[in-house]
Symmetry: D2
Subunit: 147 residues, 4 copies
């Protein structure tokens, strides 16, 4: 069994190297086996034409939530790569800040499927704004990462 | 029939209000009826843990390419909203710069379906790195945009 | 508010006209506001090359589960049309029989998003074999159905 | 290099074991490296409530088209499994008969991504009715097929 200290350390180290997460101001708020939670403030630099977060910005954090949820259940030496994802946008991405939850739906040796949800938060109220299903592949060795 | 001047002006005006596009350094390189092309330089601030563009960054530009392709064929008073998108990541997002093409696959009164492709470019060579299919909804009136 | 008798009658009447459901031997086991459940026996005529249910067969029932879940929350005069769906296949579709659950994730005036799950059942044990997210459109008038 | 005789024989042998294809009356009309084409007559037993082919029926043949396109470029000993697919339904599935084309978009050692299109045909006219993107995994050994 994988100890929580072990995967938590790996997730935090990898997350720290994801420049996109730092640029967007995303923080890890929880790490568990098969599940991660992130928080992010509203970011005016990443909006669309109506002033809400761009759907792609929301998808970026949902994708990382899926990838790191998968990372918690994969072999320590594996790297994770997103093969594909699908997102539905249910409401405009507005809020003072946002919460993202990624969960493993099915863990496999090579392929892991994750679901994630994004919530907009305003004055303590939370609203589901988007969902994602992502297929994540475990790759070992630099060759794999380079495809 | 919609004159090209008309939709080109609308696309450029809306694009200029998408802060996310400016932040990522995306430029419009072509606008035609049912099709747009964007260019973007490599952006270290939007990378994942291996130093390639984050899948979500790629998806952000693909989504805008789909949305503006749809915008060229919609009624002038309509706003566009992404209902959902699905992206496949075929190769690591590396390159000196990137090219994105969005095309209308099926235009409808309410719902328009678009395909988009992302290419990484290095020393004049181009490689397909990701594809997207997006479902875009035309909404009229502020109520629609607010859902 | 929509009375349960009303939508249940509509769902059953429409389902009875879906020849594909009869051909596959699918039965409605539950109808509630925003949720339906179907059952189906193993069907050798709808298998793939390894003798499991074909992924498309599973998707067919998942799609109907999504469509009828959406149907329960739509205006009585509206017809439902699947705009798109995405399914992940998590385990081989084997079992003596199968259970399908469709639920409304977000109901809208025009567009409703649903999630569905498929389970294989053997000797009382149940296993999640596939999931779907579907975008369903409400169309009114024959013109809409004909697109 | 894989000889065409070799993969054509493998595709035909596997296709003949897909009971679902026989039940739907699907025939192979072309096999090439990375591409297959199927034909199917209108099938009243597989329709939805308005008398058109059920979206799931269309998806079933699209999925097989993707799977066999992938099969042509995979190692002879590998079995193919659909990890996930996403389909957009662009027009009602009506016609005297239907044509389906599946193509490899990106072939990989483990994961292959395919696109497919479905066309309805009436009195010699052809109309695009649906598209699919599918992620196909090569699995070797019975253990893989059983997941």
């Amino acid at each position: 069994m994988i100890g929580s200290d072990e995967f938590e350390t790996r997730v935090r180290a990898s997350f720290a190297r994801q420049k996109a997460m730092q640029t967007l101001g995303v923080a890890i708020t929880r790490i568990a086996a098969g599940e991660v939670e992130f928080a992010m403030p509203f970011a005016p630099d990443f909006t669309q034409q109506h002033g809400f977060l761009h759907a792609g910005t929301v998808a970026t954090v949902l994708d990382s939530a899926c990838g790191y949820a998968a990372f918690t259940v994969m072999a320590p030496e594996a790297a994770v790569m997103t093969i594909e994802f699908k997102a539905n946008f249910l409401a405009p991405a507005k809020g003072e800040n946002f919460r993202f939850v990624g969960k493993v739906l099915k863990a496999g040796r090579t392929v892991t499927v994750c679901d994630a949800q994004a919530f907009g938060r305003d004055a303590g109220n939370e609203k589901l704004i988007a969902t994602m299903t992502a297929t994540i592949m475990a790759v070992t060795g630099r060759a794999g990462i380079e495809q």
